[in-house]
Structure formats: C-alpha cells, structure tokens
C-alpha cells in the first residue's frame, strides 16, 4: 500500500472517530439543554394555570389536566406517550405535574408538550457528521495527493537515481535537493552512506587486485622450480607427487589470472577500444580450436557474417575464447554445435543436459556444475563483465535440450 493511501486511510478513521464522539456529545448536550428549556416553559404554564385557578376560572385546555388531590407531592417531570390520532402512532411527550394550593385545596396540575423528534434529530446530526467526516477525508486525500505529489517528487526521483546507482561506477551519487527537512536529511545520509560504501568497495577492489598481484610472483617461482625439478630423472612416485603439485599450481595460476582480469574489468579501463570486426578473430579462434572439434567429434555449424562494432580487441579475444571453450567443453561427444554472427547478435548453441544449478547463478563467480572438476567457474563471469563493459546484453536460454548463449550488440 502506498504511503499516501495509508495516511489517508488513517486520517479517515481518525476523523470518523472524532466526529462520532463529538456528534454524540452534541446530541446529549442539546437534549439536556432543550429538556431544561421545556421544563421551564411547562413550569411557567403551570404557574399561569395556577393564577387562572386562583381567579376562579374554569380551566379546560387540551393537554392540561387538573385534578383535586388530598396531598401535595414533589413536582415531577417525566416522559410519557400519547396516542396521536392523526398520525396513528404513539408520540412521546414531556409531562410536568406540579401540586398547587389554591384556596386550601390542593390541585395536581399536569401539563404536557410534545417531545421534539429526538430520533430525527439523532439521524440528522449523525448523517451530517458522517457526511462531514467523508468530506473531510476526501478533501484531506485530495490535498494530500496534490501537495504530496509536489513534496514527494524529489524523493521519488532520488529513489529512481538510487535504483540505477552503481558503487562500481566513478560517478558520485547526486540527489535532488528538497525543502523538506526530513528528505534533505535522508539525502545527506544517503550520500554519506554511498560515499562510504564506495570507499569500502574500492578498498576491497584494491585489496583483491593487490593480493592477486602479490600471488603472481610466488606462483611464478613455484612453477619455475617445479619445471626445474622435472628436468631431473625421478622415480615414479616422485613424478606422481610432482605432477599433482604442477596441476595444482596450474589451476592456482589460472584462477589468479582470471581474478586479476575480473578486478580490472570492474575498474573498466581498457584503453584499446576501437572499431573491430568480430568475424575475423572469431574465425581465427575456430581455426585454432579445429582439432578439439575433431577430437570430440563435434559437428560445427557456422553462419558468420561480417559484423563490426566498437570494442577492446583484447577483451574480445578473451570473450570469444571463453565462449568457444565453454561450448566445446560442455557439448556432448558427437553432437552438433553452432555459432552464428550478424550485425545484431552473436549466438552460441550446444546440446547438453540441463544445468545442475539455478539459471540465474550461471554468470556468477565460482559457480560450476556438480560433476565438474577442472576450472574455477570464472569463465562466464568474465564473459558477463566484458559484455557489461561494452554495453552488450548477454542472455542464456535452455530450449529443446539446447544451451543457447546470445550476445546482443546495441
């Protein structure tokens, strides 16, 4: 529920409650006041009748009853009901009985007057107040909408800015100023937060880059020494140990290189961007990998048209080699793989069982299938970053038992 709807709803319930309380109060007070007034009026009437009786006049008014009694009682003001012949209903009346002493005779004088339609009063007041509360709520809502639109505008714009803001980008976070204190404060906090997060992000970035750098030389030393050991005659057991060590250092070296590339990709500085035609390196790579297709008995179907775009040739090589080796690696033996390139898109297709993990983790780092031993699962993550850097859109689909990678150039 939107904030505006929420406040409006609260406002409506509150006004309904308040108006309910005040309506009731108004009704009760009004009733008390009017009863008092009527009582006074009836008392006056009794007094006037007493005067007439004193003068010896015969009293016969409608709604006035005079009876001789033996004893005077406390005067009594009460509600009574009288059958209304004309309307055919019992109507409520006020009745006041007072005892007056005239010439040593006590009379009970009862006067009555109509009970003004309290039900109607109640109804009228209730309706008026309900109407009022509705009107207030609607007006409040309208005012809220109009004013809020204005007030919330910078907030909503900032929200959109924040949604698109990336900590990896060099751009500082800039937010729309607002004359609302809270929003201005929020802006300050957000800008501060973003700059701190950015500093930390860069520190982390620098850390991973530095650690990768620092690892390169020790890896180089280990590898060089292992190669030197390989030059000597060794027994079978030593050869086995040495090979395990070599395989491990090979893997470490590749993972480290990939991580180094990934950090550089996120920094986004590739000065060699120029117009390149993708078909040329693509065909070269396919030729390079020739025997791997033969070895795995893969049938290669290509449809490669000249397609030129702005790109870093270096990164393009990395992208193509990663996608091609991915394809060769995962295509089942003796299946068909296809590669197509035109001005809009580069598409790699190969058969294979569905992924053993969720599709949206495919381009994440260190994600690999269950059976997979070799590789660190960085290849597709690198591909993704390269596409991002060039503003290309890469997507994956599994359709008719085919894995399809599509890169759209825009």
């Amino acid at each position: 529920m939107k904030l505006l709807t929420k406040t409006s709803l609260h406002y409506f319930w509150a006004s309904l409650l308040l108006l309910g309380i005040f309506g009731t109060l108004l009704f009760v007070l009004l009733k008390k006041e009017i009863s008092l007034e009527i009582k006074e009026q009836l008392e006056l009437q009794v007094d006037l009748i007493g005067e007439k009786l004193n003068d010896g006049a015969t009293i016969s008014y409608p709604l006035v009853d005079i009876t001789k009694v033996n004893q005077a009682y406390q005067s009594n003001f009460r509600d009574t009901s009288i059958f209304d012949r004309k309307q055919n209903v019992a109507e409520n009346y006020y009745a006041l009985t007072e005892y007056v002493n005239i010439k040593k005779q006590t009379y009970a004088v009862t006067v009555m007057t109509t009970y003004i339609g309290w039900n109607e009063y109640l109804e009228t007041i209730g309706l008026t107040f309900l109407g009022l509360s509705l009107l207030l709520a609607v007006t409040g809502l309208l005012v809220n909408y109009v004013v809020s639109r204005q007030i919330w505008k910078p907030f909503l714009q900032n929200l959109a800015t924040l949604k698109n803001h990336s900590l990896a980008s060099d751009n500082e976070l800039t937010l729309q100023p607002s004359d609302t204190e809270e929003f201005e404060e929020l802006n300050k906090v957000l800008i501060d937060f973003a700059s701190r997060a950015k500093t930390e992000y860069h520190a982390l970035q620098e850390f991973s880059e530095n650690s990768s750098h620092e690892l390169q030389t020790p890896i180089a030393i280990i590898r060089a020494r292992l190669e030197s050991i390989s030059q000597h005659p060794l027994d079978t057991e030593s050869i086995r140990y040495l090979n395990d060590a070599k395989t491990a250092i090979e893997r470490l070296s590749k993972v480290n290189k990939s991580l180094l590339l990934l950090t550089k990709l996120r920094n986004g500085h590739f000065p060699d961007v120029q117009t390149v035609c993708i078909d040329k390196p693509l065909l070269q790579h396919i030729e390079q990998l020739d025997e791997l297709y033969i070895n795995r008995e893969l049938r290669l179907k290509t449809s490669i048209k000249t397609s030129c775009t702005k790109a870093s040739p270096y990164l393009l090589e990395v992208l193509l080699s990663n996608l091609l080796s991915n394809q060769i690696k995962y295509a089942p033996k003796s299946s068909t793989v296809s590669i197509s390139l035109d001005d809009n898109a580069l598409i790699f297709t190969n058969a294979g069982p569905p992924l053993s993990f969720e599709e949206d983790r495919l381009f994440k780092r260190f994600v690999k299938g269950k059976q997979e031993q070799s590789g660190a699962g960085l290849g597709l993550s690198i591909v993704m970053q390269i596409c991002k850097l060039h503003g290309w859109n890469i997507s994956y689909a599994y359709h008719n038992q085919l894995h399809i990678f599509t890169i759209r150039f825009n």
């Binding site: 180089a220 030393i221 590898r223 060089a224 190669e227 030059q231 870093s312 990395v318 990663n322 660190a376």
Partner: protein
Amino acid sequence: MKVLFVEDEPVLADEMLNYFSNQGYLCESACNYSAASEKIANYNYDIVVLDIGLPDGSGMRLIPSVVAQSADTGILIVSAKDSLNDKLEGLNLGADDYVTKPFYVEELNARLHALYRRKTLKGSHQIVFDNFVIDPQSKTLYFRNKEISLTKKEYQLLLYFIINKERVVSKPSIAEHIWGDYYDELDNFDAVYVHLMNLRKKLTKTSGKDYIKTVYGMGYKFSA
C-alpha cells in the same frame, strides 16, 4: 646472444640465468633499477628482459635508455600485473614484446629467439639441426633441400622444441605456446598429443631418427 635479465626476484633470476646460460646465451642480471641502468649505460645487449616492478623504480623508465643505447636491442617486458595499460605504454616506449608472470622459461626462450631473429639477425637466419633446415621467414622445413610439409601447428611445435632442445617440456607449456593462455578451462592436452605424434612421425619417416622422446609423466624432450 647477449641478454640482460632485470629481475628483482632472486629465484626467478636464478631460474632464468640457469636455463639461458645452459642454452649458450651470454647472460647477465641486475636485481634493481640502479644496477640495471648502470649496466645498460655501459654495455650493449642483444636483448633486455625487463621486469617493470622493481623495488627502486619502474622498469618502464629504463626502456628509453635501452633504445637510446642501441636501437637494435630487443626489449621484452615481464610483468606480474598483466595490465593492458602497462603493455601499451611499454610497447609505445619502444619495447618489443610483453610476457606476464607466471611464464614458462621455454615460452620466454621462444619469445627471446623470435626477437633475436627479428632485431639482431634481421630475419636472415636459418635454424639447422642434423640434416634439417628451418627457414623461419617462410616457416618451412627442409630435409636435404627437400621441403617437408608441416601444418601451422606442427611448425610452431617443432620450433618450440628446437629452441628448447634438451629440455623436458611439459604439456601445459606446449598448450599455452600454441593456443595462448586464453583458453582457460579447456583440456587441450589431447590435441597436443595428436600434433606431437604427427610431427614425430613426419620427422622419423624422413630421417629415420626419433627426435622427440616422451619423458614419463613429465612431458617431451627434443634431442638433436
């Protein structure tokens, strides 16, 4: 071939000096910027192998003085950074090639050789072993003046072996030389094997001598 290795890491310097001295090169080494700049100023080298991350300055700044000393000196940058910026800057300053750590000494050797042929020998050079002759310019192999047809990869492989003769060369080293280090997660050792066997057959069939030995569990060794 006279080579100066500028490398601050003693083990790597030792590895390079060791291997390249055995290959018959005249090797010298410098472990920091000042030692390197002194050597460059006083001697002529065919090739300078330059680590750019030196403790007392960037090796990058040594490039202009090498170029000033002799334009024919080949410069090969070695870097732990694998940075495109460094590579472009180095090549702009006058370096000829760029290798990233960790590298195989065989690969470095192949690069040095190519550089040496290009810069010092100006391409006019033939590589001879037994009755075989390789012409690097036309990339062809002759046996007693008769051309032996090789595929592109077989030729690359042969050259790699000859340059690194008497050295046990591992499969990953060969794979990286032929396919580059782009193909990160690809098992191409089978392909290495296929090319190797084809080359071996061709050489044996022509000359009757088996030049390439399999060293159990280690790789292959070329002996002329």
